[in-house]
């Protein structure tokens, strides 16, 4: 078929769009406005799609349910982060209970603006800059290692006094790059050289730099992200068995040789937060144990908004990774499940709109970002409930932190940009 030549074309820059218009030209499935079945002609769409190749693209309009869910989660998240953080802010920020709230609000407002802005950016731009983005990620991760360390950990580049966590950016870059690879090599995914090898190279390179930071939880996320992108990109199933086998072996080696270092000390107490036997263990598992106390204290209906007791300096840094433990304590199982349901809906909606995106790259990009969101939520919950080692995975929209919030909102903006090409009814 004709359009396959475009995919294999050396000139990457125009190829996704060319494929799109090429498909039109070839009389293939046309974009169907208003969610109608394919085959319905729509001149307007054709015109729009023909106008598409700019930096900005408003296309068919964004998916409002997705945007609303993002905003709802963001509002709830800020509210809960404020509730969780005000005692610790009062105690540690010289009596300023609103310390974290003020900053998070600022991040949120600018973040939403960035999201809206991003939603107008023609996401195919990322296809063009995929390699550059990956290069930026690598450079950033190397730069981080040159930064002064705080307690042996190097994760931030300081822009003035504002810390910028590079790994947040890297996750996005890796998704973009893997989407680019899978799009470019769409027909050759069954060959190791075009699927597994680039993926492995990206992962190993990124992981090596993250290991130096160290930032183990991000390595885990990277691993899953690359895997998900290869899976969605169409790499044959048999390779996954090999990958999982290899991962297991690698993990065992790391475990037995003690390379895991920092994480090991945390994993020592893994699953033992409530059955600590030594003072050291008690100390190590302090945060996780108090997280469990908070979650358990919430019971079915919770202590009520603002009524957490564990946030009174028992649970360290309740505004960060463990914010959801306070949510559980205040809103109970019912509230926690409601919020998880919102997250699940958001993931579903993200994948739903991405499945209907105009191009393969858009589909891969949207699904990858949505999957990353889900992955972060799940890993965060499993960490705070002591089913995974305490390794620092933030909860999107809830955890305090400028970089992660910005990056998450920007990525939501990317999904929204993808939704502009989705062939579905826009509400």
């Amino acid at each position: 078929m004709k359009h396959t030549s475009f995919l294999s074309a050396k000139s990457d820059l125009e190829s996704p769009l060319l494929r799109y218009s090429g498909a039109q030209a070839a009389g293939g499935r046309r974009p169907a406005p208003a969610g109608r079945s394919s085959g319905t002609k729509s001149g307007g769409n054709r015109r729009q799609s023909r106008k598409a190749p700019g930096l900005f693209y408003s296309g068919l309009g964004i998916d409002m349910p997705f945007l609303i869910m993002v905003l709802v989660l963001l509002v709830i998240g800020i509210l809960m982060m404020f509730s969780a953080s005000y005692p610790v802010a009062y105690a540690e920020e010289d009596g300023d209970s609103y310390y974290y709230l003020k900053r998070q609000l600022l991040f949120a407002v600018t973040g939403v603006a960035l999201m809206i802005f991003t939603s107008f950016i023609n996401y195919h731009t990322y296809y063009r800059f995929a390699k550059i983005l990956l290069a930026i990620s690598f450079i950033g991760l190397i730069l981080v290692l040159l930064m002064p360390s705080s307690t042996g950990i190097r994760r931030w580049i300081y822009l003035g006094s504002t810390p910028f966590q590079v790994s947040e950016l890297s996750k996005f870059c890796v998704i973009v790059f893997m989407a680019y690879i899978a799009t470019k090599n769409a027909d050759k995914m069954k060959y190791i050289k075009y699927s597994f090898l680039p993926g492995a190279a990206v992962f190993v390179g990124t992981a090596a730099l993250l290991l130096a930071e160290p930032h183990y939880s991000c390595i885990v996320i990277m691993f899953f992200l690359v895997l998900i992108m290869l899976y969605l990109g169409g790499m044959p199933g048999k390779y996954f068995l090999v990958i999982f086998g290899g991962a297991a072996v690698a993990f065992l080696i790391a475990w037995s040789t003690g390379i895991l270092g920092y994480a090991m000390t945390r994993m020592d107490g893994w699953g033992q937060a409530l059955i600590y036997t030594t003072d050291e263990m008690w100390q190590t598992t302090w945060q996780t144990r108090n997280s469990l106390y908070a979650i358990g204290s919430g019971g079915l209906t919770g202590l009520g908004l603002g009524n957490s007791r564990q946030k009174y300096l028992y649970l360290p840094e309740p505004q960060n990774d463990f914010v959801f433990a306070i949510v559980c304590e205040e809103l109970g199982f019912i509230g926690a499940v409601a919020i998880l349901a919102l997250f699940a809906l958001l993931v579903w909606r993200g994948i739903y709109v991405s499945q209907r995106a105009g191009t393969t790259f858009g589909k891969l990009l949207g699904c990858g970002i949505s999957a990353q969101l889900g992955l972060q939520v799940i890993l965060n919950i499993l960490v705070i409930t002591d089913w995974l080692p305490n390794t620092g995975i933030s909860l999107p929209f809830f955890s305090y932190g400028g970089t992660s919030l910005w990056m998450m909102l920007i990525q939501m903006g990317v999904v929204l940009a993808v939704s502009r090409t989705s062939k579905m009814e826009k509400i």
Partner: protein, 743 residues
């Protein structure tokens, strides 16, 4: 191919979605559900445990009152000064706090400064600070806040209680004392610790991980319930009287191992006085007398020294009235006599022969009167305190009956008095079997040991018609509002002897106190009864090469319808006198002569006594001299006049003072003569006649106690020491002791 690819993507993205939603979110929800529903209670409990700070609010320990509600032991608020250095920001602030506090609470400033370096919320600086110091600390805290801009939360105070004993060493071994944690360690404080302690309150507050209160309402205050108060049967006045005379006698007779005085209500068993004299200050129970302390300090070995120290303390605290066992000696003869009479083995007509000794199964035991008492009646055997007679009476009773009565009188078991440390008796065998020679010695109270409280309780039975009552020191328990919680009722354990037997023995004992071996214990105007006792201890505690003796006297008054029993007991007098009649009986008389009037026991004078009886001086001041003289003479006094005036300006003795009938009232008629004084002469060592004569010569008045019934009596002590300057007519109390009594 494109179609296949699309299919692949579509299905794979669906699979991914399914995995994320079902596996991922599913797992998260399951895990949360498990924690929040199934494990919720357990986790919540753990969380609450760490969030709640449980502060104990100390309950105020109950007060101990004497029988007249005089305070014997009371708790007062004191304060614990605590530093929370975590609020101090730098060394400058620490310096200011350390310097200021050091001045107020008298703790070294460097010590405080060092303590202030800790990053803590609780560093104790000083305990048991009085409220005036607390005020100063509070002022200092204000100053810190206002002048130095230092968070005054860095200092706080916690209320504690400290025990005070207003009477110091009075009844020390009975009242006992408390430890540093307000727990009773000895005496009533120990025995009634639970009642006195009360229930500490709890202040449960939700606190954050730093230990300060959380901002939301979450505190529960369970008020401390103050301890109950005790009202004792001990009467402070009686205790004071007893301890005063006991201490005097201990000094006079160089008593080595302290003395005991028990005064008990014969009918109820209420102990009105229990003194182990030679005691300690309850406010400072861990300090030994200076000399003893020095002696112990010379011991080089640390272990030995601390052991010696502990032993010395134990000895000091010991309540000899309960913890010491001794051979009751001749005091026991009243029980031997009582059992023989009760069994009909002897009566008033029985006679006993004493040739100075008596032999039982080949062993000869002598009488204190070597020449022997000859043939004597049963009554005289007791009055003579004749050992051979009692060995014969013992023989008639036999070992089996002796043991039965021994048990009936309560000697075979502790009395169960509500005080700690009571010892039991030491008898020849556990089942009462004994050799004839044992029975012989036991008949006059030798070679078996009992406690003073057992003897006093048994004497109560002689005095009250044969009933063994439960001795006790706590009369009732009051709650914090003063309501009576419980009252100790009289508990009659059994009747040991019939009232007829008791009456007969009482009668003989009364006669004994008037004209027998107990006459030194006589108190004029009161029908006292009593028996002396002198017993060998068969060991030598003070190392003077002479076996120790115990001199005791136990009696009661009045002889009929008795009210109180009094036992006086001196352990190892090392002076020249060691007989109970010489050492203990006069003290008994002295004590009873003050206690009986205090208890308002009705006086019953003999005709002789009536003639010599004390009379109360009237009011003569303001009368003309002639009127006053006429009035005083009409009341049976002689008068002497000082001054040249016509109107009486002053009189000695004052109105209402008791002086003997025929005593002299000095009337002052001018100012200058009122200040004239006379010197009290040495009035000891004289007969009653001589003392009366000397008194008139020296222009003082005499009041007599002790063996005033015997012409052989000699004055042995005087209430105002010789050489003291007093106003003419002042009453000096003289104690007489009869000579020629060696028991």
């Amino acid at each position: 191919m494109a179609k296949g690819k699309k299919q692949t993507f579509k299905s794979r993205s669906n699979v991914l979605l399914a995995i994320i939603l079902i596996l991922g979110f599913g797992a998260a929800v399951c895990r949360l559900g498990y924690l929040q529903i199934f494990q919720a209670n357990e986790l919540q409990q753990s969380a609450v445990n760490q969030q709640l700070t449980d502060t104990t609010l100390s309950a105020k320990r109950g007060t101990i009152y004497d029988a007249n509600k005089k305070v014997l032991a009371i708790s007062a608020s004191v304060w614990r000064v605590v530093l929370a250095p975590v609020y101090l920001e730098d060394d400058t602030q620490r310096r200011i706090v350390a310097d200021g506090l050091s001045e107020i609470v008298d703790v070294d400033r460097e010590t405080i400064f060092e303590k202030s370096q800790q990053n803590s919320y609780y560093v104790e600086i000083k305990r048991q600070v009085e409220s005036d110091v607390r005020e100063k600390v509070l002022e200092f805290m204000d100053k810190l806040e206002n002048e130095h801009d230092i968070n005054s939360q860095c200092i706080f105070m916690i209320e504690d209680y400290k025990r005070y004993y207003p009477y110091g060493d009075l009844a020390a071994s009975v009242i006992g004392f408390t430890g540093s944690d307000d727990q009773g360690l000895w005496g009533i404080e120990y025995q009634y610790d639970e009642a006195l302690t009360g229930t500490p309150g709890r202040l449960v507050t939700a606190t954050n991980a730093h230990g300060t209160a959380m901002p939301f309402q979450y505190s529960q205050n369970i008020e401390a319930q103050d301890g109950n108060s005790l009202v004792l049967t001990i009467d402070e006045t009686i205790q004071q009287i007893a301890e005063k005379y006991m201490a005097q006698a201990i000094e006079e007779h160089a008593v080595y191992n302290r003395g005991v005085c028990i005064i008990m209500d014969v009918n109820t068993g209420a102990v009105k006085c229990m003194a182990s004299v030679g005691g300690f200050d309850l406010n400072d129970p861990f300090t030994l007398p200076e000399e003893l302390e020095k002696e112990i300090d010379t011991i080089a070995d640390d272990t030995e020294r601390s052991q010696a120290y502990n032993e010395a303390l134990g000895k000091l605290w010991r309540n000899k009235a309960l913890s010491d066992t001794y051979y009751p000696g001749s005091v026991f003869k009243m029980f031997t006599a009582a059992m023989a009479v009760e069994e009909g083995l002897v009566n008033e007509e029985s006679t006993f022969y004493c040739d100075g000794s008596y032999t039982v199964t080949g062993q000869t035991m002598g009488c204190h009167l070597r020449s022997g008492h000859g043939t004597q009646s049963f009554r005289d055997s007791i009055k003579n305190s004749c050992n051979p007679a009692f060995m014969q009476i013992g023989e008639k009773v036999g070992a089996k009956l002796f043991w039965q009565y021994y048990q009936a009188f309560g000697f075979s078991e502790p009395t169960g008095i509500d005080l700690p440390g009571e010892a039991g008796d030491i008898f020849f065998s556990e089942d009462g079997t004994m050799l004839p020679v044992n029975l012989a010695t036991a008949s006059f109270g030798q070679n078996f040991a009992v406690t003073p409280i057992q003897v006093a309780t048994a004497v109560c039975a002689i005095a009250n018609g044969g009933y063994i009552v439960q001795p006790h020191v706590v009369s009732h328990i009051l709650d914090e509002d003063g309501n009576v919680v419980s009252t100790t009722s009289t508990e009659v354990k059994r009747q040991a002897i019939s009232s007829e037997t008791a009456a007969l023995i009482s009668d003989i004992l009364e006669e004994n106190a008037v004209s027998g071996s107990g006459k030194n214990g006589y108190v004029a105007g009161y029908r006292v009864a009593g028996k002396t006792g002198t017993s060998e201890k068969k060991n030598d505690s003070n190392g003077d090469g002479i076996d120790d003796y115990i001199a005791s006297f136990c009696g009661f008054a009045p002889a009929e319808n008795a009210e109180v029993v009094c036992l006086v007991f001196f352990d190892t007098p090392t002076g020249a006198a060691y007989y109970g009649s010489q050492v203990a009986a006069p003290v008994y008389a002295q004590i009873m002569s003050e206690v009986l009037p205090y208890l308002q026991v009705a006086t019953q004078y003999t005709e002789d006594e009536l003639a010599a009886m004390d009379k109360t001086a009237g009011t003569y001041v303001g009368m003309s001299l002639s009127e006053a003289q006429a009035s005083a003479e009409a009341e049976g006094f002689t008068t002497s006049v000082k001054g040249d005036g016509d109107v009486v300006l002053a009189q000695v003795p004052g109105a209402g003072t008791s002086i003997p009938r025929g005593g002299n009232v000095v009337l002052y008629t001018d100012e200058s003569s009122a200040s004239s004084q006379v010197e009290v002469p040495d009035l000891t060592g004289y007969s009653i006649y001589d003392v009366n004569y000397l008194a008139s010569v020296y222009d003082i008045n005499i009041s007599m106690t002790g063996a005033t019934t015997s012409a052989m009596s000699v004055s042995t002590s005087q209430s105002i020491p010789a050489g003291t300057l007093v106003s003419p007519g002042t009453v000096v109390k003289i104690t007489f002791t009869a000579g020629g009594v060696s028991d």
